[in-house]
Symmetry: D2
Subunit: 452 residues, 4 copies
């Protein structure tokens, strides 16, 4: 089924890592590597392996009828191998019988997807790296630009643009790091044969598997993973974590980009985010793509985890479902990562507006510190009640809490001595800014730790 249009959010073009051409080529690579490894241990004639290696990549297959034949057979590999055998036979009849020797259909598909996923992962890794570095650059550009910290979608104190962006950078670096580490185990060759125990390959089974791993630059799993899928599903779960981390950053940007907040603006490009109706409106098209691409991924992960219950030596249904869904996770993660990289490399942070949003709260953001100043004199409860009262006055009257406090509390002789420099210090924006800024470089250093 061609689904260009409804896939527009994640569409990566026909040359994507899971495109038909890439998949078929990976399947052929499996068969070639299998033949060569078997020839090396003497299990099949070297001449046959050579013929297979020479001609297999010339196989031309039309995806649509192959998909139909696969659905009929219950596996793509039966019509694929039939076609490959016929193709090799046209070149070298005696070699044809050694095609796919000793392997089973799951060996082909699992290995081919590992090869496709290696490419997907490389692209994902690059985009995550771009995003993380872009966030680091933002952090270093605005280390001391004050902005509101917000918890439960309410103002919660003062932090800095740099501190926030440094956490974005670290988070994106962490998921990238984790993906690469898991990939070391997950990107493995699959070779088990019909019964999963390599019996058709004789004594040389494990050796053939090891040599194929080397030739294909995949890990030798040292075991059959036909129905034990943990490392493979772990990789998808890590992509799911990456999606979560990316969506969090995009969500922050989306909230900052609200008209009433105005702290962030998407990078503009010709026609990007054009509204179908309003000339003055720019839709946040990059944020949209990050959020829309990542949204279905948790559901996909739940399906993959549930599908790990694979019966005996190969599952009926759960494996075949996984085969289609696992690439979906990466396709979605890739789309999100590319959009996020574009977003973070171009996002405009309006530091003046960040500052203005603090000012608009008339100092009430420091109410905790004000209460702390009054506490030794008034006791905790009275201090808190007084401050809550002063905050109301400040917000209602549109006056700074410091001024309201100074005016309203000056009658209290006990408080008088604290209403000068100490009071000013309560509202000192520099202090939290300086403290936050001091943590940025260690955060970025952690974000830049060497790859596993």
């Amino acid at each position: 089924m061609t689904r260009h249009l409804l896939d527009w959010i994640v569409a990566a073009g026909e040359d994507g890592p899971y495109g038909d051409a890439a998949l078929l080529r990976s399947m052929v690579r499996f068969e070639v590597a299998l033949a060569q490894a078997q020839a090396r241990v003497g299990a099949i004639p070297q001449a046959a392996a050579d013929a297979i290696a020479q001609h297999a990549f010339g196989l031309a297959l039309d995806p649509a009828p192959l998909a139909r034949a696969g659905a009929h057979a219950g596996t793509l590999v039966v019509p694929f191998v039939r076609a490959l055998v016929a193709h090799i036979a046209t070149h070298d009849e005696s070699a044809a019988r050694w095609v796919h020797h000793g392997a089973t259909s799951q060996d082909v598909m699992d290995t081919a997807l590992a090869l496709c996923t290696r490419k997907a992962l490389a692209a994902l890794e690059r985009s995550l790296s771009r995003s993380s570095r872009a966030a680091a650059t933002l952090a270093r550009s605005h280390p001391v630009a004050p902005m509101l910290a917000r918890t439960l979608l309410q103002p919660a104190g003062v932090t800095t643009v740099g501190f926030k962006c440094a956490h974005w950078a670290l988070s994106l670096a962490r998921v990238r790091w984790r993906l690469l580490r898991t990939a070391q185990e997950a990107l493995a060759v699959s070779l088990g044969g019909a019964a999963g125990n390599l019996a058709e390959l004789g004594e040389h089974g494990p050796t053939v598997r090891a040599q194929m791993a080397q030739a294909l630059e995949l890990t030798d799993p040292g075991a059959t993973w036909h129905s034990h899928r943990e490392p493979w599903i772990a990789l998808a779960a890590d992509a799911g974590l990456a999606c979560g981390a990316m969506a969090k950053v995009a969500r922050d940007v989306a909230l900052m980009a609200q008209a009433e907040v105005g702290e962030a603006r998407e990078p503009q490009a010709d026609g990007r985010g054009a509204s179908s109706a309003m000339p003055s409106k720019r839709n946040p098209a990059l944020t949209l793509r990050v959020l829309a691409s990542t949204q279905p991924v948790p559901g996909m992960i739940s399906g993959l985890l549930a599908g790990m219950v694979q019966e005996h030596e190969r599952a009926l249904g759960n494996w075949q479902a996984e085969l289609a869904q696992h690439p979906q996770v990466f396709t979605h993660a890739l789309a999100a990562a590319a959009a996020l990289a574009d977003l973070l490399e171009g996002v405009h942070i309006d530091v003046a507006r960040c500052h203005a949003n603090i000012e608009a709260l008339y100092g009430t953001i420091f109410s905790e510190r004000l209460a702390g100043l009054l506490l030794p004199v008034l006791g905790k409860e009275a201090a808190q009640a007084t401050v809550a009262d002063l905050c109301r006055d400040a917000l209602d009257g549109g006056r700074h809490l410091r001024d309201v406090a100074r005016e309203r509390l000056s009658g209290d002789a006990r408080l008088q001595p604290h209403l000068g420099g100490e009071l000013d210090e309560v509202f000192d924006l520099e202090r939290p800014v300086r403290l936050a800024a001091a943590q940025i470089e260690p955060l970025l250093a952690a974000a830049e730790r060497p790859l596993p």
Copy 2:
């Protein structure tokens, strides 16, 4: 992205209800119906509406660049409308300005998907109906064929093939019924305009919506559903329930088809289920497709439910994700339903083997009834202990429990009178068979209740 191969399990061909051609045609249908309805209320010139209606279906669009432009704009509709306007302008420049008048991009997409989904639903409904009728036929073919009831994957009593199949029929009928009922509300036109309140359409907004609904044979929702998605997601959830019901039946067949059980065999067709390695093996390709197609659906439903949290008048991310995932649910349900219909119309039930599997238990399946016979004399605990003991002897010795009981208990004078006809009655297979069979027609009558 063309993904023929990795979509092989659910691939429905390019002409599927969500194929590019079908989607684009539905989008055009929206614009035509919009223009016509507005002309009728005098909001736009009738001549413009006529020109749009006459020429719009001639629009030819290449899906791939449209998808790319859509990703860039954040919506498919911006490039689509631009192309449609240009296309109409080549025929009638003055009409072109009335294209898409008063509508917003979500109106187009939601309505177009409702039109596509109506077709998908019709196909799904037909396949479910085929499956339900096939199960009913199986039930009527084997009403009194005894078979094991199994609970917790252990034998649990005697039932009949017909009783089991009648429940399959009822279950499949119920999900079909539910889908059709929900569709009455869910397949609705969408028209809200940029702000969701039809303001661009003036006083006639609700009337235009009602007329479009009539013209497109969709429901008039009487409201804007841009960010309130319950009926639409309810339809997907009902498709998810249908998937659950289908998978349950397929799972039963798969378990019955195990070599050691041997009670069911998939219908054979040339090459279907061919093994890549073993000539004598037939892979259960239809069961496989039902199970593999339905497996990811619960995860998709969770994504759709989570995505209902759509901000304000149109969501950022969650709606766009839904747009791609909602059709996936139906695509998967359709694939499963077609395979299940083929399966149930052709499955061979081996009633002799069903009976033999009961016999292989040497009467121990009636242990509860035997305990009931002994209970008045021995009391509950002794009765149960005695029976458990007799069962072990029967299974270990390969003798029928009735014979073991008669022999072992005849020494007990209190039990002697019960060891004749009463004992035979305990093991009377006819009784549960008759009782189960008597319930079949009422079950099938419920399965055949008129559509909503």
Copy 3:
């Protein structure tokens, strides 16, 4: 396991509909209804049924050891029935043997949960009704109060508070309506016996089931639903839809309550939402509870849907998991519904701030209409470019777009005639307000349609 603390968000107290006492009482009710129905058809002695009915509710069970015994047995019902038999025996030894006669453990649990869920549903329905009515009241209180419509988290036009709240009301009414309709089928008695075919009950099986349904005020399903769960899971899915609808409303409120937006404020109550640190901060505790309670529900629904694949006559694992998870869905929905009702009944909408947020955009929200005014003269592209330009000037200069337009365009003789009343009309707030307001009562009428 007592989990008071970590359940704080959804904790409904020990007297909740799924509390131990309620569950055990429902289990006893099943056994009493079973005995009475069987006595009525002559399957067991009337005296036994009477004794069971008289004494069963006196059974006192300690939940903790019962749970442990249940885990050991693989079902709660084995130790429960053992205890009930012993308890009845202390009153009437001959009656004790008729306890649970002909039933299986799943019959007890499914029926008991249907009874508990009926109570949960009644409470859920009441809260949803409160919420829907509160939203309707808000709609009727502010029908013509202008506020921004927002799409993709960006301003997208002018609507009214009433229009928005009327959609909330309709959405909440719809999910309530749907729950009640599904409940008619889903709240069913379960009676199938060990093999699911009522064989232990003889000819009277279906009659006994029908009478039990009547006595317990549940539906007679006319079938065994041990492993066919569609109506039951459909009810949970509908609760999931309700959660989605509730979360959407809460999310809107949360966004409106941001300090920079300031359009909504949670109702304040003593100590509610108190911050652990900041005296001036009020955490949005009700919104929080709605969002936190509903968040895990989609995942639960996916688990329930996946769990529908129940083997043969009773499942191994999937049914038992469902048994624990189905009530969780309702427990979460209940908590959310109660909090949402409190929220909507008390939320303060700041209509002045709603208006001010429109004003802060300097008329650019009407850019589409301005472009429409210029279009006949300038053509589409130039009109849009001009307006985009004017918008920038307005926002940068802090002047109203109308004034900027009048000033900047007055030099163009072609436009001059349109820059008077026509231009004023473009920026007429009353028009969209009036059009939106006119739709409110029909929306509320739909929200108030009679129950199914």
Copy 4:
């Protein structure tokens, strides 16, 4: 809410790692460690820290009202800290004001849950280790016991009990290994303060966090993880992977334990798996618990992943939902792991039945090898067709395929020379057994690799 009964499958008793007492104690530990670390850097008086450390653990709190107050406040920590302050004040009024100094409620909860999860993880790790070792013991007990390999629930060749169990062992070892490695990063102290930037703690913030980490034996995350949750959710995802791996093994056992298969039997214990109806029936109670406990976990993981989209410095709803769901994952994994360990330590594998199930296929399991024998003479297609034909005869006639082949093919002079020893070799059970067995020790060595 006490939910003993409906939690019976996962109930771990009140003393579980997430029980109220354990949670409260962990919360107190946080406050004590915070005070001590601050005293050490001079941020609060040492005497205050000492008083807090001395008295805090004496705090006695009733969970039920605390949960209610937490729901009211929107966080458990507000009433908790209030109670702790009051409690400390009864001992040392001046110390009381330093309780919770500089921290925020999320710091307390996240750290407390990390402490609870460390205990849960230790228990989970022990059970997984027991399971893995038990599977290894099974593998070493039956290395050369032949059994059917089954793919798509159909016979697919010959393997050995030991080979299958060695893969179980490796899989369980891998998920355990992965959990421990992820825990090194995930089990971290949380300290960020109200705005997440440690500003209330002055220059010493990072030092205080590092010292708390050391005191509590948790990792110092070097960052604030209030709204960046990847390592923490990764740990839950790894528990989800463990659940998938455990369920796969349990599912295999359940299928092997079917009456018609008879290859496995659950360990029997007094009353375990007792049927409520049938004396001869043993319900597979341990398998049931593994499958039922793990079934809802993928849905939980999807919820946790979706919940990673946490706004700004602390989320509204998603964090609070995570707080309740994260422990659920571990509670379910713990229950499954304990049951699986009991299962694998006691499961009886009936090797004679395993062998008999092969014999019952009359040699057709070797059809691929037979076709390989005929292929050089007959060519691929004819060989496959001939073998398929012979297989049908063998199964229909109940005769061994070897004998049927010898008899039916002896007329073909070309084949004659191959029908002696070569034909016997085709059906040689020893060969696949020997090849499979040879791989067991390397698999177990991989399973026993040192912990990370």
